[in-house]
């Protein structure tokens, strides 16, 4: 009898663990069937800048070690749909007032050192990220309009996030990666922020770097190579549809190759497996090598646009020059300027045909968000001349530039950062086209930091006329910038007087807040469409174009994404599902 009871208890425990333990990676995320997959081998990649720390709380580089070894959190996105799905959580529920999300944490997950992963790990990670003295790059993501998002542990496997107001990007916050409380907690308690900052420097022994993700640090050689190895604890709860533990690869090597020409050479020589070439020259060299049979690789040219843009912005705050100020504040003038931007020529000449023209603040790669009905002020010099004539610029002076009735010439200064060849080329195209319609544009390339200083200066009189610059980023939940749209925003680049000057700016600001708090995707999309319509009328920024994404890989790799989801957002593959064919 007793024996039977023990047996039954064992069965129940087993069932409890087994039901919640595994996350199955869907077959639709890869082109490879589990039956054709081989285990083992090394994936070799390259990055342009060196790693700076193993510490997840102070890391600030775009490609960093913590995000590489353990990129995931409670939820993740399904690349085939873009939806948030539970990942390290087994489920979540949203409270009726939409201010609380409760996550049930998956049971049976373990750190690479064998300790269980529990709610405490998220709580500790959140505490340290939000300690000002630590200086974490993630600090701002835990606040909405300056009000904190709070986490509460209900029990070891239940976590509750409380938001100061309903937030469309709520899951984005919950996506943060947990780090081991049993490692960071004691140091934080004893030495506080200073203690945390001293941890996990590049000199730390690799075996001390504990990870929840697919990889562990095996070795690091400064400026040269980071070698990661498979984390077996990850494979215990991450399986493919056939039940094989993931990742398939044994190792993931990342070479640091600062010069992109050298990276290309390594890819052509077959020494690295992944590459995302960005110039026409590099792409054609890869294509040539493939065609001539010197390299067995695949390249997907123009797979998607990149979430980044180049644009021209006019300064609305020029108290010292009322003529220019009224000009830059006039939407007719800005529309005329949009008409002189030959976006097709920019794509052809600057990007060698490998770019995408842009007309609104929503990056073209965010297809769900782009309002197809928004008017585009395409290249049309006659229309530009007509609009300028309506502003009173009807006569031309001896040098062929337009002047108004008081004899004031239509002229402005245009700046961009020196050394950025693409922006300098765009500027020169604009100067030429402007001259054709009679606008004098004085172009100068200046130091990047000086340019940023001018662009982000505030007050009624700012020291520039027009600047060409770019931003990147872009969020799938709500693609408008929290720093850009609101009139007090730090990146509200056209008008930094501290208040809205045009009623449509006020309107955009209101719609921005409404959209951000709207949890229904359809309704949010409508708000986004409306915002793009207003933007198109106002033209606060004249969007020009952005580069495209061209992933390439050596054919010794298998398990890439199906073509439909290869894009700058989802990348070319999930490394967990990647394997070495030969």
């Amino acid at each position: 009898m007793r024996r039977a009871l023990v047996w039954m208890a064992g069965l129940i425990a087993l069932a409890g663990v087994a039901s919640a333990q595994t996350f199955v990676w869907p077959q639709r995320w890869t082109v490879a069937k589990p039956s054709e997959v081989k285990r083992g081998g090394t994936l070799r990649a390259a990055v342009t800048s060196d790693f700076r720390t193993f510490n997840p709380f102070i890391t600030a580089e775009a490609t960093n070690v913590p995000d590489t070894i353990s990129p995931y959190g409670l939820v993740r996105r399904d690349p085939t749909t873009g939806d948030w799905i539970p990942y390290m959580a087994e489920s979540f529920s949203i409270s009726p007032n939409k201010l609380e999300i409760t996550f049930k944490i998956r049971r049976g997950m373990k750190w690479s050192d064998g300790r269980p992963i529990t709610a405490d790990d998220w709580i500790m990670t959140w505490r340290i990220h939000t300690d000002k003295a630590v200086g974490s790059n993630s600090y701002d993501s835990f606040f909405i309009d300056g009000k904190p998002i709070t986490l509460r542990k209900i029990d070891d496997y239940t976590l509750r996030f409380t938001y100061p107001r309903p937030d469309a990007t709520a899951f984005f916050v919950a996506e943060f990666t947990p780090w081991p409380a049993h490692i960071f907690g004691p140091v934080y308690q004893k030495e506080g922020a200073e203690g945390i900052k001293k941890m996990w420097t590049l000199n730390e022994k690799p075996e001390n770097i504990v990870s929840a993700g697919p990889w562990l640090v095996e070795s690091y050689r400064p400026g040269e190579r980071l070698v990661l190895k498979r984390n077996p604890a990850f494979g215990e709860w991450n399986k493919d549809e056939a039940g094989n533990p993931l990742p398939y690869l044994d190792r993931y090597e990342i070479k640091i190759v600062k010069d992109t020409n050298a990276q290309l050479a390594e890819f052509l020589a077959g020494n690295i497996d992944l590459m995302a070439p960005s110039t026409v020259d590099h792409i054609s060299q890869i294509r040539q090598a493939i065609q001539q049979g010197r390299l067995d690789a695949t390249i997907k040219v123009n797979a998607s646009p990149v979430a980044s843009s180049q644009f021209m912005v006019f300064n609305w705050n020029k108290a010292s020059d009322p003529f220019k100020q009224s000009l830059f504040r006039s939407e007719k003038f800005r529309r005329a300027m949009s008409h002189i931007v030959n976006r097709q020529a920019v794509v052809e000449i600057v990007y060698g045909g490998l770019g995408t023209p842009m007309y609104s603040s929503v990056y073209p790669v965010l297809t769900q968000w782009v309002n197809p009905k928004v008017p585009k002020y395409e290249y049309n010099p006659q229309q530009a001349a007509k609009l300028l004539a309506e502003l009173g610029f009807t006569r031309k002076d001896r040098e062929g530039y337009l002047v108004d009735s008081k004899g004031r010439r239509l002229e402005f200064n245009l700046a961009t950062n020196a050394g950025n060849a693409q922006r300098e080329q765009i500027a020169k195209l604009i100067v030429d086209e402007a001259k054709k319609v009679g606008v004098k544009v004085n172009f100068t390339a200046i130091d990047f930091n000086t340019l940023v200083g001018q662009l982000l200066s505030s007050g009624p009189d700012r020291p520039f006329d027009a600047i060409i610059i770019g931003l990147s980023g872009g969020d799938l939940d709500w693609p408008f910038g929290s720093n850009v749209v609101p009139c007090k925003g730090n990146l509200h680049m056209w008008n930094k007087s501290g208040q809205c000057l045009d009623p449509r700016e006020t309107q955009l600001e209101a719609l921005y807040s409404r959209g951000r708090t709207e949890l229904d995707f359809k309704k949010r999309q409508e708000i986004g469409y409306r915002m793009q319509e207003i933007e198109a009328q106002l033209l606060p920024v004249i969007y020009i174009a952005g580069p495209n994404y061209h992933p390439a890989w050596n054919n010794r790799l298998g398990g890439e994404h199906p073509d439909a989801i290869i894009s700058a957002i989802w990348g070319q593959r999930e490394l967990e599902l990647t394997f070495i064919k030969k």
Binding site: G223, K258, N449, I469, N483
Partner: protein, 327 residues
């Protein structure tokens, strides 16, 4: 002599403060600072940037930052890297060691090759060999080393495409799987990777130095005491090597002092182009990021080594050239 050395060391002190302050000031005069690049990131608020600026001490006046840094320096602390959040010496040292793998052999090679070429050119002036070497030297002088490195990569790739054999690696310092190799294989692996960068790094310098050596030698050979030596009936070998050569190399002794700082300052753009994990790419990054104390700290170490090196080469000059005397 002792008095001279002491006096020189005393002179070094104001030079040191003057030079470090100037370096610090110039770095600070460049627009913006380490945090400027964060300002265009739509996810970072201005408050956060202001807070970080205060934490890094970048909001204080320059002289105050300099004095704080100097105080640390006197305690042998070069400062803290913003980007790495670690002491400067700790992040710099491994790259300097990597650079030395190229710098030391290429310096040895330089003197071993350039001086004989220069002497040969002077002794057999206008011979076919001299003309050929002169031509090559002009080519070497006019092709910048980064370009030479690109050509080397191109050639290596073409060989690989044609024959499938990787004669020398295209870039990097070690092969993948380096960590699993036995120590001797590791050493050979690094040597295999270092061959091309060493040759590229040394090509320009050989060209320059051999031309100088040739000029020096020619000048000495035309002097009266050489004619006297020949007139005395000394063998040509003794004339050349005992009398002419010894006098011709004296100016080079003065340049030996410069070797000490160049030991740590890296092999230049070869490192960037061939992905050698040396100090050059690292230092360029630091300049681009305005990682203040990395730049200032590295300049300080170079400065100290340069001052010591100059002192040593002055002393060496007095030792090899009896005409020079320090009172």
């Amino acid at each position: 002599m002792t008095a001279y050395v002491l006096r020189r060391i005393l002179y070094l002190i104001p030079t040191f403060f003057g030079a470090t302050f100037l370096a610090f000031l110039i770095i600070q005069m460049a627009p913006g600072d380490y945090l400027t690049q964060l300002e265009l990131d739509p996810k970072v608020t201005p408050e956060t940037i202001a807070r970080l600026r205060a934490q890094f001490g970048l909001d204080r006046p320059v002289y105050e930052q300099y004095l704080l840094w100097m105080n640390n320096l006197l305690h042998l602390n070069l400062g803290y890297s913003f980007a790495y959040q670690a002491p400067v010496l700790e992040v710099i040292w491994p790259r300097v060691v990597n650079s030395m793998v190229i710098v030391i052999p290429s310096t040895l090679l330089l003197y071993l090759v350039a001086i004989p070429i220069g002497v040969y050119g002077a002794v057999r002036q206008y011979s076919f060999g001299d003309r050929l070497l002169s031509f090559l030297a002009y080519v070497g002088l006019s092709v910048p080393s980064f370009f030479l490195a690109l050509i080397a990569i191109y050639v290596l790739l073409q060989i690989k495409f044609r024959t499938g054999v990787q004669v020398f690696p295209v870039s990097g310092m070690t092969s993948s799987g380096f960590e699993q190799m036995p120590p001797l294989r590791q050493l050979l692996d690094i040597a295999w990777h270092a061959v091309v960068p060493i040759l590229v790094a040394v090509a320009n310098d050989i060209a320059g130095l051999s031309r100088l050596m040739r000029g020096q030698m020619l000048e000495v050979l035309s002097q009266d005491f050489i004619r006297t030596a020949r007139a005395k009936g000394l063998s040509e070998r003794v004339v050349l090597y005992k009398h002419a050569f010894r006098n011709a190399v004296i100016p080079f002794v003065a340049t030996l002092g410069g070797l000490l700082p160049s030991l740590i300052s890296g092999a230049g753009f070869v490192e960037v182009v061939m992905a050698w994990p040396g100090i050059t790419p690292f230092f360029l990054d630091a300049i681009a990021n305005q990682d203040l104390y990395v730049i200032a700290g590295f300049l300080t170490v170079s400065l100290v080594l340069l001052m010591i090196g100059n002192l040593i080469s002055d002393l060496l000059l007095a030792w090899v050239d009896p005409r020079i005397r320090y009172e």
